[in-house]
């Protein structure tokens, strides 16, 4: 019985690993097709003005408030659900586009003699940061909806700006204090020298 239990456990682990690898491979193959994105070179990340305006609109509270004031609760709920789906789709499209750019970069640089591992690792870090940011946003949008998520982002950014301001204000003061302390240390020595 115990043998069977261990055997099953090992098999489950192995099969899930195989399944994960095969699914990942299939997803990689069809990733570019999903949004009709063609292979492009790095540096071409740009959205047309209409898409940019629309993306801003998805997270705007105005529409949501209008629907909430003019229609029933059920319709408002449906509208919010549709907006959440739209926002998530938009985020997925951005992520997919960045993935495509990264893949193009890797394809172009894999055979290059000049490749610098330290720079590549920095790029990976940058990409990881993007994935982390978009992942967190994805989670926040799915849980709170686009309008509240935007408020949360605005609040976080405001807080970050305030913190930066406080740090900037504190740093010169800190330097000044340090300079004063250094001067105080030197004063008696100078005084002694004079006397």
């Amino acid at each position: 019985m115990r043998t069977l239990a261990f055997f099953l456990l090992a098999m489950v682990i192995i099969l899930s690993a195989c399944l994960f690898l095969s699914r990942r491979g299939r997803r990689r193959d069809s990733d570019g097709e999903a949004y009709g994105i063609e292979c492009e070179t790095a540096g071409s990340f740009a959205w047309d003005p209409l898409t940019s305006e629309l993306s801003g609109r998805i997270f705007d509270r105005e529409d949501s408030d209008f629907v909430a004031n003019e229609t029933s609760r059920e319709i408002t709920r449906q509208f919010r659900r549709a907006r959440t789906a739209l926002a998530l789709d938009w985020l997925r499209a951005v992520r997919s586009r960045v993935n495509q750019v990264m893949r193009s970069h890797f394809r172009a640089s894999r055979g290059n003699d000049d490749l610098k591992p330290a720079d590549e690792i920095r790029l990976w870090f940058e990409f990881l940061l993007f994935q982390l940011t978009s992942g967190i946003l994805y989670l926040v949008i799915s849980v709170c909806g686009p309008a509240r998520a935007a408020e949360l982002v605005g609040y976080s950014l405001g807080l970050a700006a305030q913190l930066q301001k406080v740090t900037e204000e504190a740093l010169p003061a800190g330097r000044q204090v340090a300079a004063e302390l250094m001067n105080r240390d030197q004063e008696p020595k100078n005084g002694n020298a004079v006397s």
């Binding site: 990689r28 960045v98 394809r107 290059n112 490749l115 790029l123 940011t133 946003l137 605005g154 950014l157």
Partner: protein
């Protein structure tokens, strides 16, 4: 009885890829892999003889031949790296750095354990030592496969089979050895079945993948670097950075 049958099946399955490669004359294309397989085959025959003729010596014979297998496994990983990245010097350079880092990180644990041990042996039991050595190999192989995936390096059926099969072998070995080490003798009976069955699975992968020669496919058109690498890097970095700020900006109320 069942474990002996599994053992015999494994010996047969070890011969199959060797014979196929000899027949189709592609033994030299993966010489370290076939050397490894040849060694494992010879070792199994030797252990079978010891098991039936001198059963008391079997444990010693098994554990003394195991480090050679681990060492030959390292050659196998090196061969995967060498063949797969022969045409991609950029990724090869990246792999050297990443693998060196992984090797230092993974082996430092063993060195620290040996340092702390009064006997200078990195582990309380042979299971623990083998598990640690296999873990280092697994870390290197995972790192290598991650790089292949990241840089979209085509491997071909043969090399993919060698790499994934060996990764499967290492993965199952690490799990089994950990369980054997932690649970002690109570797991021994299960281990006698699980380990060989997992090994049969690995041999099955190798038989299928190396049934015939499949060279590494060449991408039809390699994207040309219009500018130098540095400007490509700057451009990609800028794209990722701007995408991040674009997402955050779009969400700003």
């Amino acid at each position: 009885m069942a474990s002996k049958v599994i053992w015999l099946i494994a010996i047969v399955l070890e011969v199959v890829p060797l014979v196929r490669a000899m027949e189709a004359k592609f033994l030299r294309n993966y010489k370290f892999f076939y050397s490894y397989l040849g060694f494992v085959f010879a070792r199994d025959l030797w252990l079978l003889a010891v098991y039936f003729l001198w059963p008391k010596l079997y444990t010693y014979a098994y554990w003394w031949s195991e480090p050679v297998g681990v060492l030959m496994g390292c050659w196998l990983v090196w061969e995967v790296y060498k063949i797969a990245l022969a045409r991609y010097p950029g990724t090869a350079r990246m792999a050297r750095n990443v693998l060196a880092f992984l090797f230092i990180v993974a082996s430092s644990r063993i060195i620290v354990k040996a340092w702390n041990s009064p006997t200078w042996i990195p582990g309380r039991t042979l299971f623990e030592i083998e598990r640690d050595l296999r873990s280092v190999q697994l870390a290197l192989l995972i790192g290598l496969v991650a790089l292949f995936t990241c840089y979209v390096i085509p491997l071909g059926r043969n090399l993919k089979g060698v790499a994934y099969g060996y990764a499967l072998f290492l993965g199952t070995s690490v799990i089994n050895l950990t369980l054997r080490d932690k649970l002690g003798y109570s797991f021994q009976h299960s281990w006698e079945y699980i380990q060989p069955i997992c090994y049969l699975l690995v041999l099955g992968v190798w038989c299928l993948a190396l049934w015939s020669y499949a060279p590494i496919p060449q991408p039809p058109t390699e994207p040309r670097l219009e500018a130098d690498y540095q400007s490509l890097l700057v451009s990609t970095k800028e794209t990722v950075r701007s995408a991040r700020s674009y997402v955050v900006k779009a969400m700003r109320p």
